[in-house]
């Protein structure tokens, strides 16, 4: 039997040693925003149920959802949905086999980041 000797094996990329890239970060954010939007969904359904049940219930739900804390949650959710929206469109574009070269993918990453912020601000100004 040959002697067991340690072999220099290449390390596979791991989260803790992986240099953050625009493409990976924007991809992870898609998952985070999509799943975090359940908070907004819960609040909206609660608010609708309260509105259906009567003025007393509505006053409670409305006070929570329009408090300063509620405003922060809803504003962040608004950004999250716009981000997820643009990321979803990018996903469809990627799935069509387009935009997969690195310069285009990086550009699309910036489009997601700035586009989502711009759309959030526009929405907040409009409503």
């Amino acid at each position: 039997m040959a002697e067991a000797k340690p072999v220099e094996r290449p390390l596979s990329p791991h989260l803790q040693v992986y240099r953050p890239q625009l493409t990976s970060i924007t991809s992870i954010l898609t998952r985070i925003t999509g799943n975090a939007l359940i908070v907004a969904a819960l609040l909206i359904v609660w608010w609708l149920v309260a509105a259906a049940l009567g003025p007393g219930h509505f006053a409670t739900a409305d006070a929570v959802i329009t408090s300063w804390f509620g405003d922060i949650v809803m504003a962040l959710s608004l950004w999250a949905i716009w981000y997820h929206y643009l990321a979803g469109l990018r996903h469809l574009y990627f799935d069509a086999g387009k935009g997969l070269d690195i310069p285009t993918a990086e550009k699309l990453g910036w489009v997601l980041i700035f586009g989502s912020v711009i759309l959030t601000v526009i929405t907040l100004l409009l409503i």
Binding site: G34, M74, L92
Partner: protein
Amino acid sequence: MRYLTARKRAEAKGASGTGTDHHWHMQISSVGLAFIVPPFIYVFGKALGSSHENVLETFSRPFPALLTALVLVFGLQHFRKGAETMIEDYARGITRKILIIFLTIFTYGLTATGLYALAKIAL
């Protein structure tokens, strides 16, 4: 040499065990949601922060009521499948099964609750 067709060898393989079915349904729901989410944001945003009477009036009109119902049903189904993908990525074995069962019960429950509220307001 196995006497199997190429298709039979490939079926039910891959990480999901269901081929591309899950992914295809995410694509369908995402395109649908791309059309209904922006008007919903507008309708909901206008109603949020207004009086109780105004909220009831808004959601008893057909367009806002139908739009909200569609966003609820398809948005939460899209969420269910997306969150299932996340669970499948991070959880194994019995934990994965329990989480997916809870997720499914939760999303259908939330959808039903929202539809009940809409029906009560609109009808």
